[in-house]
């Protein structure tokens, strides 16, 4: 078993395509998405009309996860409803979740 980082992002469903594209740019090799609803301190969303939130999980190495955090801070936090949290989990085939850049 190997340690790897798991980042969970909850945001407006309208951002689905854009977020997935940005995750790939940041170097994520995969993602898992579920539909979600929610409330938070900001709660300023158009998604009410568009079908709620999305909840995206990304397994990746710490470098990639840090790059995703930067991306969230730059382009998402100020304008959109986002909650994100990170933890360390154990996987058995760690190489699947590591991008090419950080594998060296």
């Amino acid at each position: 078993m190997h340690e790897i980082d798991l980042l969970t992002i909850v945001t407006e469903s309208i951002l689905k395509e854009r977020l997935i594209a940005d995750l790939k740019i940041a170097g994520a090799t995969g993602w898992t998405l579920s539909a979600a609803q929610g409330e938070g301190p900001r709660n300023r969303r158009v998604s009410e009309v568009e079908g709620g939130n999305i909840r995206v999980e990304i397994l990746a190495d710490p470098v990639t996860i840090a790059r995703i955090w930067d991306m969230l801070k730059d382009s998402y936090f100020s304008n959109y409803a986002v909650a994100a949290w990170q933890s360390t989990v154990q996987v058995s085939r760690a190489d699947r979740y590591l991008g090419n850049e950080s594998q060296g």
């Binding site: 854009r18 539909a35 969303r45 158009v46 009410e48 009309v49 568009e50 304008n79």
Partner: protein, 357 residues
């Protein structure tokens, strides 16, 4: 025949008109779709939101868009190109003029910043499918005819207003970003998405389905349509009613925000549609439309988008406050149009008819 007699005859006619107007207004308010909308609003008050499950709501929207497009395409094929061209040109012009008017009027009656005014312009420059559809159902119930190609105008009017509104806001935004530095980080993101937003708006799913339906209707014609008429034709008003249950819930949730909207916005959300609707009706007559057609063009101008525009604005103009635009378009203008606006535009179209036709 003396003046007195003439007068009394006018009065008599007027009485008849009043009765007819009332019965017409009640035809609208007491139609199943409008009543279902009110049921949705009331359910929010009772804290038992009668929402459709999300996937069903989305499928219902696809159905309505496609069915409207399909019927419009079938009718378009039966129309003379010459009859259609001028109305299309007029619709494009309205789609440019109206959002500019919104942008300017709001500066005058509210304290909204340019970004929120651009967002509002995008919403009111575009159209509401459901308001449009409810107007068709209304005219059908009164047996008033209209040009079959009206869905073409709906399609034509959907996009330009959003683009113009966003451009107005963007113009200001780029000015601001040169001045203020604190927010510059946001504008990086704003720029990185700039390539997307025109694509997002022009190739949004709702436009694609509506336009796809239009083309398919045009290609398949009456013969092809007959095979799917029981589904896309017969069920239409019933499905619209179901959809309005959800719209009622969404509008009902916005009602409590109206208080916070400020008097300027509330007045705007009610008066501007009447102004834009009248402009649309007059333009419709000038473009050679029948009374029914002119009224529908008025409804298109009067209605504000709450599906395509909010999505486009959220992606392309994230700094805009959706609370303001949705409260105005979905919480005020939409119910106003649905319940009292439609009969008003009909009366206006009737009153102006003699001037033009």
């Amino acid at each position: 025949m003396g003046v007195g007699e003439f007068d009394s005859s006018v009065q008599y006619d007027f009485k008849v008109d009043l009765g007819a107007s009332l019965s017409m207004a009640s035809t609208n308010v007491l139609s199943v779709p409008v009543l279902v909308f009110l049921l949705g609003v009331i359910s929010v008050r009772l804290k038992a939101d009668l929402r459709l499950p999300d996937p069903v709501y989305q499928a219902t929207a696809i159905y309505l868009l496609f069915a409207i497009g399909l019927k419009g395409g079938v009718a378009l094929r039966a129309s003379e190109p010459a009859d259609v061209l001028l109305p299309i040109v007029v619709a494009v012009a309205l789609g440019i003029v109206i959002p500019i008017a919104v942008f300017l009027v709001l500066k005058w009656v509210t304290r909204l910043n340019a970004i929120d005014r651009g967002a509002m312009a995008a919403h009111y420059g575009s159209t509401s499918l459901v308001t449009f559809t409810a107007a068709l159902v209304f005219l059908d119930a009164l047996d008033v005819s209209y040009e079959g190609f009206m869905p073409t105008l709906l399609t034509v009017l959907e996009i330009p207003g959003i683009v113009v509104g966003l451009l107005l806001a963007k113009r200001y935004a780029s000015t601001r970003s040169r001045v203020e530095d604190a927010t510059s980080r946001d504008w990086v993101a704003g720029d990185s998405v700039s390539r997307d937003w025109i694509r997002e708006v022009v190739l949004g799913k709702s436009v694609l389905i509506l336009f796809g339906g239009l083309v398919i209707g045009f290609l398949t014609g009456v013969q092809g349509y007959e095979q799917v008429e029981p589904f896309f034709g017969g069920l239409f008003t019933g499905v619209l009613a179901l959809f309005l249950l959800e719209m009622g819930v969404l509008a009902g949730r916005r009602l409590s925000d109206i208080r916070t909207a400020g008097p300027g916005l509330i007045i705007f959300a009610i008066v501007f549609p009447v102004f834009a609707g009248t402009l649309g009706i007059i333009s419709g007559y000038l473009a050679g439309l029948s009374m029914g057609g002119a009224m529908i063009l008025g409804v298109l101008c009067a209605s504000a988008s709450y599906i395509a525009a909010p999505a486009a604005v959220r992606l392309a103009l994230p700094e805009a406050n959706p609370g303001i635009t949705l409260t105005s378009s979905l919480g005020i203008t939409f119910p106003f149009n649905l319940i009292v606006g439609i009969p008003i535009y009909y009366l206006v179209a009737q009153a102006l008819e003699s001037w033009f036709l």
